[in-house]
Structure formats: C-alpha cells, structure tokens
C-alpha cells in the first residue's frame, strides 16, 4: 500500500463538540471497582519489587483515568510509560542525593567554618524553591506531552528554569510581604503554566487578574480571624459563667486548668479555621483559573460551589486517612466525576483547524516532582 492511496481527512467535517443544552461536554465514567483492581495488582507488584513498580503502576492508573474521561464523546489518551518516569526519577536522584548528603554532613563543619554553614543554610531554601518550580514545570510538561485527544498531543513550551526562577522570586516577595503576595504568586505561576500550554497547534491563553484573587485572599484571612475572635470571645464569656456555676474548690481547680484548656481549644480551633479559610480561598481560585483559560474561541467555567469543593476535599482526605490509602481509587473516580460534571465549555472550537503539535516532547518525566514529593496524580 502506498502513501498516495491514504489521503484521509482532507474533506473531514468539523465536528462541533458542543452538545446542545449547555450540558458539560466533559464526562468521566471510570468505575471504582475497576480502578481498585488495578490498584490492588499495583500494590502487589510494588511489594514484590520493593516499590520499584511504583512508576509503572502510576502510568497504569493514569491510562485508566485518561481513557475514561471524555470530551465531546472522545476519550483522552495517556501515552506515558513507566520507564520514562523511572528514568526521570533516577536523574532527579542523581541531583538530589549529593545535595542531601552534603546537607547532612554540614553540622560536622559547624565549629570549623561557621560562615560556610550559615551561607549554605541561607542558600538551601531558595535552592529548594527553585528546584520545586523546575520540578512543577517539568511534571506539567511531561503530563501534557503524554496526553492526547483525537490523536492530537498537548504540549508545554517555555523553560523549566524560568518557572523555577519565578517560583523563587515570588516566594521571596511572599515572605517579604508576610504572605500578602501569595495570591499574586499563585495567579502568576498559573498564568505561566496555562499560557504556555498547547493543544496541537492551538495555544491556551490565560487572562486572570491578580486583584480578584487578592480580594478573596483577604476575605479568607478576615474569615479566619473572625472565626477565631468569635471562638475566643465565646470562651472568655463561657469560662466565668462556668466558674460561677461551679463553686469553691471546683472553681479553683478550673482556674488552674485554664491555661491548658485555652491552649487545647486554640489548637483545636486555629487549624480548622486556617484550613477552612484556605479551602474556601482555593475553591474560588480554582474557578478563577478555569474561567480565565481560553482555547481558540472557547472559554471554560467550573461551576463548583465553595461548599461542594470543600466537602470534596475534606471527605477525600477523611477517606484516605481512614482507610490508610485504600480508598484511593474511590477518591480518584469521584474527584474526576465531580470536576467533569461541573466543567463547562462555551464558544466554538474549530477542531478541523487544529493541527498536530510540532513541539518536541521530553524524553523523561517528573523526576524532581516525584522526588520532592510535590503532589499526586
């Protein structure tokens, strides 16, 4: 058979991906039972191989999740291989192991060369911030380059080094401003990652403004402080009432216990208040990121309420902790399902005009990301 006989798709119809009625064009139909089977086999092989199967297992899970996530009736495809992840990890280890050994030996020099110790200690955090940025970018580039839809590859252009530099710079600014810069940092890093992403020949664009996020961030902070003040006030009011209720020796004993009680209560309240406020911020941030992402003439929207997002996060966390990670397949499937059912696309995507990506693909992936333990999936 010669090449001339196969000139397909020259007059291919452009399939409009938008189903009528404003429904989400995204669908996930993975089944917990099937993913559980995959994870069980993975775990078994991981134990037998003392963990080395990790990278192959991870690829397997991704292949399942991608191939069960549909956009406009066509499933995504994951083409990454376990050995690419293993190789990437080995390369990252070559960088990190000497660094870690060096840092562990450092205290031995404390008396001989205190200045060197101080200099290295000061340099470590910037270095790890930089490496975290590089790792994040590298992981995203790998993930996109190994994702296809309708045979067309996704891609990420730009330099990992630049993302590392931005992470370092914005991190320093966040420190100097006592955290006020955090929403700017997150928005700009997202802009760098989304604005450099491609689907075939079509580039994603991102036009999310900083100040909207800053506003939400400040409100989250106020929310947290408000909750804390309310609790402390309640405590301050409740204690004398309680003390008045009890008498004599009982009240004295309570008085002695007061500092401890306040300590425990603060511990019990500060972390949930902080966590709750942070999750509330993150819900809005995620909607912001999605809403300001464009591909061609298409726009996206995530219609996931704060409450839904926080519940999804907390119940996932509870399930994972409660089952020592056994609930992982359930968490993956329900998260994918929730996100896809609430993800909308508006506008028309001229699919016939989108050509195959010509951006070179990286050979190995995610080493630093995995080694620094920056996240899952």
């Amino acid at each position: 058979m010669s090449d001339t006989t196969m000139s397909p798709a020259t007059a291919a119809p452009v399939v409009n991906p938008l189903p009528p009625g404003g429904q989400s064009p995204f669908v996930h139909h993975g089944r917990t039972r099937e993913l559980l089977g995959i994870c069980a086999v993975n775990l078994l092989l991981k134990v037998v191989t003392l963990g080395a199967y990790h990278f192959w297992g991870k690829s397997r899970v991704r292949r399942y999740v991608w191939s069960h996530t549909l956009f406009a009736g066509e499933a995504f495809e994951y083409t990454g291989r376990g050995k690419e992840l293993a190789l990437g990890y080995a390369v990252a280890m070559l960088v990190l192991v000497p660094l870690i050994v060096l840092l562990n030996l450092l205290p031995l020099l404390a008396e001989r060369a205190p200045w060197l110790v101080i200099a290295v200690s000061l340099g470590v955090y910037p270095l790890f911030a930089f490496l975290a940025g590089v790792g994040m970018f590298g992981a995203r580039r790998y993930l996109l380059s190994r994702t296809r839809w309708r045979s067309i590859r996704f891609a990420l252009t730009g330099r990992a080094r630049a993302h590392g530099g931005l992470t370092l710079l914005y991190g320093l600014l966040s420190m100097i401003t006592f955290g006020l810069y955090v929403p700017f940092m997150r928005n700009r890093l997202a802009a760098h990652l989304i604005g450099n992403a491609w689907f075939g020949s079509e580039r994603f664009r991102y036009d999310g403004a900083d100040d909207v996020l800053l506003h939400r961030y400040l409100r989250a902070g106020a929310l947290m402080v408000g909750v804390l003040v309310a609790w402390v006030a309640l405590l301050a009011l409740g204690m004398p009432l309680l003390a008045g209720f009890l008498r004599g020796a009982q009240a004295e004993r309570l008085g002695a216990l007061l500092p401890a009680v306040i300590g425990v209560v603060v511990m019990l309240l500060v972390f949930p208040a902080m966590g709750g406020a942070w999750l509330w911020y993150r819900a809005g941030e995620l909607r912001h990121f999605v809403a300001h992402t464009r591909l061609g003439d298409a726009r996206f929207a995530l219609e996931l309420s704060n409450r839904r997002y926080i519940w999804l996060y907390l119940s996932n966390l509870g399930a994972l902790v409660g089952t020592l990670g056994l609930a992982y397949p359930w968490v993956v499937v329900r998260t994918a399902r929730t996100l896809t059912t609430h993800l909308r696309m508006d506008g028309v995507l001229e699919l016939g005009a989108i050509e195959q990506s010509s951006i070179p693909t990286p050979r190995t992936g995610e080493g630093l990301f995995d080694a620094l333990d920056l996240g899952s999936i």
Binding site: A12, V14, K46, A52, W56, N104
Partner: protein, 354 residues
C-alpha cells in the same frame, strides 16, 4: 461483517466516521460513502490502552503514526482473536503489566544487591576516609543526645576505676582516637560503642553483672567495635540503606514504606551479626592480652539469655543478637586468669551513680 467506528488521522483534530472490515491480513477502513480510506495490516496493529469488558477500544498502527481508530465496543477485537488474527487489548488487569513487572523486579534486585553486597564492601573504605575529627564530633553529638535523657554518672573513684580498666584493655589494641567511657543513669542492661572512641555503659549492666570481669568482657567487646570503626560504619550503613531503598521505593505511602522498612531491617540485621562475631573475637583476644578471665562474661550472657522470652528480655540481647555458638566461642577462646578490678575499685564502680 463491518463495524462502525471513528477515525482521527493524527494530523488534525477532525474526526470522521468509518466502517471497518476485517480482511484476512488487514483491517480495511471505509468512509460512510463507501470509498476506501485506509488499510491497516494486522502486523503492527496495537491497542492504545487496556480494554475493559466490552469496550470501548482504541487501535493504532506502528506504520501509521498517531492516527487512531476508536471503536465503541470490543466486538471487532473479539472477531480478530477468534479468526486467528492479533490478540489486542489483553487482560485488562494482568497481561500488559507482566513484562514491566519483570523489568521492575530486575531493577529492584539490582538495587537490593547494591545494598546487600556493595554497601558492606564499601563501608570500611568509606569509614576510613572519614577524618578522625569528624567521627569524634559525631560521637560527641550522639553522646550529648543520650546524656540529655539519661544523666552521666560522675562518681570520681568509679570513673577512675573504669578509665584504668579501659586503658588496660585498649593498650593491646590500635585505636585512632582516645577512648572515653561513660556510665549513664539508665536501668537497661546494655553498652554501646559510639563513633569517635566513645563508649557508653548503662547502669543496669553494672548492677546485673555481679562480677567486674563480666563488665571487662563487655567493655573489651565494645573496644573491639571501636577498633573496627563499626559505629561509624553503622551510621553510614543505615544512612546509605535508607537512601538507596528510599530511592527504590520512590513513593511514601504507608504500605510501601512498610515493605521498604522490612527490607531495610533484614539487611541491617544480617550486617550486625558479622560485626558482632568480629567484635567477639577481638574482644576475647583483648581480655586474654590483659589477662582477665572471660568466663564471667559467658556466664552473664547465659544468665541474660535465660531471661529471654520473659518480660524482662534484656536490651543487651536485642542489640547484640546472641547465639549459643557465641557463648561457646568465648568459653573456648578465653584463657585469662586475673581479676579485672580489685574489690575497692569494683565497689567504687558499682556506686558511680550515687
């Protein structure tokens, strides 16, 4: 029989419906109007991913780049397999993973071999490469940490007796660093050698020993560890093992870390036996050279092993795995005659913590 499916050519994101006809050696793809779109030979045909149950399924071809054929069901794949064509999609759970599992297994065995075979052979040269001053700093740090929990016993006469005994034993050994022996206020029946010539004896050992010669025997054993630089090697070994196995495990979920730790303790255990045997042999030689009796040490070890299995399983046995051969060796090799300490010294040593 023709099957319906859709086709993307790998060049644009446009999709077209196709009819697929499995021939004898190739799949023929037709456009809806009946014209031939493409022909994919069976050789080179592959499934894009595992097929679950009755599909859907996606096919690609080695000779056709990134073009993809999407099938709503797995019916075509079943027919291909039934008529003796290629078997595609495999068992969704097991088949595609076996080959890679073998690769991973080989990789794991290689790393395990590096830990179990390579690391012990590297330990002595590595430890020799570490300057004596570094190991002294290390030992000092560890001792400071220990002393923070269990105070150092400071009876002057007892310390003099202990130093004299240590010097007497060490005078027949070659040590790169000066020896420092301390007694800690802890009821564990044990003694440790730390890097940099530091030896820690727990008060419980002095109480349980009944005989200064048994204390001398334990001390000689720990001095032997110092001579061989086992403490430093132990630190390097545990750090190296953790590093290598950590690299191997890759992720840190609870089940995996249990598997990793299990492997690690297996490796560590097999090392310590060889070290203990070496320290036993040199320890007995030091006792003989100082002309101190070895039988009380054997008696102490026997007494402790009799307690083994009861609630009071002594710590000495958990860090110094004990076998009948070890006791027999000590009995056979020891031929010293004299006492380790006179009765005044022994009394002072026993009361060093008061």
């Amino acid at each position: 029989m023709r099957y319906t499916g859709s086709y993307t050519d790998g060049r644009t994101a446009a999709r077209q419906e196709v009819l697929i006809e499995p021939g004898r050696t190739a799949l023929r793809l037709y456009r809806p109007d009946g014209s031939l779109l493409d022909e994919w030979p069976f050789t080179g045909l592959l499934a894009a991913e595992e097929v679950y149950g009755d599909g859907p399924a996606r096919l690609r071809h080695r000779a056709h780049g990134e073009a993809t054929l999407s099938l709503p069901t797995a019916a075509l794949l079943r027919q291909l397999a039934a008529q003796g064509g290629p078997r595609l999609g495999g068992h969704p759970w097991l088949h595609p993973t076996l080959g890679t599992a073998v690769v991973a297994l080989v990789l794991a065995s290689l790393l395990l071999a590096a830990v179990a075979w390579g690391l012990p052979r590297l330990l002595a040269p590595l430890a020799a490469w570490v300057p004596a001053s570094w190991s002294e700093v290390l030992g000092e740090r560890v001792e400071t940490q220990l002393a923070a929990v269990h105070p150092v016993c400071s009876g002057a006469a007892g310390q003099r007796a202990l130093d004299a005994l240590a010097q007497r034993l060490a005078s027949h050994a070659t040590l790169a660093v000066p020896l420092r022996v301390r007694v800690l206020r802890d009821d564990g029946v044990n003694a440790f050698a730390l890097p940099g010539g530091r030896i820690v004896v727990l008060r419980g050992l002095l109480r349980e020993a009944h005989d200064p010669d048994a204390v001398a025997g334990v001390l000689a054993h720990e001095i032997a560890h110092e001579v061989y630089r086992h403490p430093l090697q132990g630190l390097i070994r545990s750090a190296g093992t953790r590093l290598l196995l950590g690299a191997l495990v890759g992720s840190h979920s609870s089940m995996e870390s249990i598997a990793g730790r299990f492997a690690q303790s297996l490796v560590l255990f097999s090392y310590s036996r060889a070290d203990e045997a070496a320290a036993d042999a040199l320890g007995v030689r030091l006792l003989n050279a100082a002309d101190i009796r070895g039988q009380p040490l054997a008696a102490l070890l026997e007494r402790l092993s009799a307690l083994h299995g009861k609630d009071r399983a002594p710590a000495l046995l958990s860090t110094h795995p004990l076998t009948a051969e070890r006791i027999a060796t000590i009995r056979a090799e020891a031929h010293g005659k004299g006492p380790a300490l006179d009765s005044a010294q022994w009394r002072a040593l026993r009361h060093i913590c008061e």
